[in-house]
């Protein structure tokens, strides 16, 4: 299947943005002894995957959008 031009354009822009921003991040240093809060369960972007997956599954089946949280699949269950 042919991928539309806007998709390629967006992929390129996303890659370029990350590549351009990565060097800027090298000057940001949170030392290991300062990382206790960042390692706390409440500061994880994935949250509690076991608890949040069913809510995300319900929302995806009731809205026309997708993405921004994960790419794993596994059936429909969406009548």
């Amino acid at each position: 299947m042919r991928i539309s031009r806007p998709l390629w354009k967006t992929l390129f822009l996303a890659g370029f943005t990350i590549a351009a921003a990565t060097p800027c991040t090298s000057c940001v240093t949170v030392r290991p002894q300062e990382r206790a809060v960042l390692a706390d369960p409440t500061m994880q972007f994935e949250g509690d995957p076991q608890a949040s997956a069913p809510l995300n599954h319900a929302i995806e089946n009731r809205e026309g959008s997708y993405g921004g949280s994960g790419v794993s699949g596994g059936g429909c269950g969406c009548n």
Binding site: I18, V28, L38, F45
Partner: protein, 419 residues
Amino acid sequence: MQLKARLRLASSLLLTASSLVVSTEARAQVAEFDTTHTVYYEAPFRTNMFVYSPSTDLKVTPVDALTVNAGWEADVVSGASVAVKAGPAYQATHPAADVVTTASVHDFRNVAHGGFTLRKDTVTFDANYAYSTEHDYKSHAISAGAQTDLFEHNTQLAINYARNFDFVCDRTQAAQDPPARYAALENSDGCFSSGQNPLRKTDDIAIDGLQGSWSQSWTPTIATQLIYTAQITNGFQADPYRSVIIGEGIKAQEHVPENRAREALAARVNFFLRPLKAALRIGGRVYWDTWDVKSGTADAELEKYFGERFRAEVKGRFYHQSGALFWSDDYSGGNSPLGPKGQYWTGDRELSPFSSVLVGLGATYAVTPEKRILGIMSGFKFSLSLDALQFIYDDYTLGGSEVSSSRAYIANLSLAFIF
């Protein structure tokens, strides 16, 4: 029989993982067992849906460099959904008739999944497989991902790819009939019966998903994440059971494009508020696809500690989307925005323009004592959440009647045991 075979597959996966646990415990290494139970309920105007979803997962880390996981989940579905969708113009010309019909829905979806994660230094690789089956839908999903930490673990870059090989049951149509004469699937009897029922056929759906993410720690209490997701779906994407009134006395099975390319860009920022001993998580997402559905999402969560073990969470989310290019509330006629929209038609409210508002509460009790509980358990976690999701439809009606009480409730109980 097929269902029993899938359950046997799930059981064997869990058994395999359980045997790993035994050997793991003997060597005092780490395993985690999770179980969740979720109930979804909604009863909007003329329809209703009740879904109970149990799941179990087991993760075992026999050596630092390897984690193996296996699990099972299910959806037990019952309710009533729209079988024939018509709009206000058609209802106005047939005032004596009820032009919208509903049908009962009963289904049982089973998913067995397994995978592994490999770690070396600052790089992580993972691969997973899931098999899902229900009366009218089967899915094989594979996914693989890689993640690396940079700059003293302050930067994480991750990339994931997923591919679904899905199959949906459909009704066989007469070869000479155009889509405007297609009949909807009456029920799932005879689905996936290897040609034994001439009125049943199987359609393919291929789904490719790609995701890249960049997570960054900026200070000891602030972290951000940027995620880009792309997905391409090719195949039968309509609801095979639903028909739409597209003209005077003409109802036809939903007919939507076979290809859909979807993209989303999401950003999140997490703050830890030391004086409150709470984390504030704020996120936003924009989405667009080749069916011309565009959406924006904003959400916020505040999770606060009360003591060392208990924390409570409050969350809110707002979502708005535009309708698909070919969506119409009435394809049979009427003034714009009603009327036909070219060669496609759908009665799917998820493709109509609408907003949704979610509010939720949650609580977690987590214990990680210095000494093992009962000599084997190094910790456990208990989580409970309740969410309410209100839908506000801009144009979607059932024969001109607004869909009132369009509110869903989702309750979730989650337990985790760490060994």
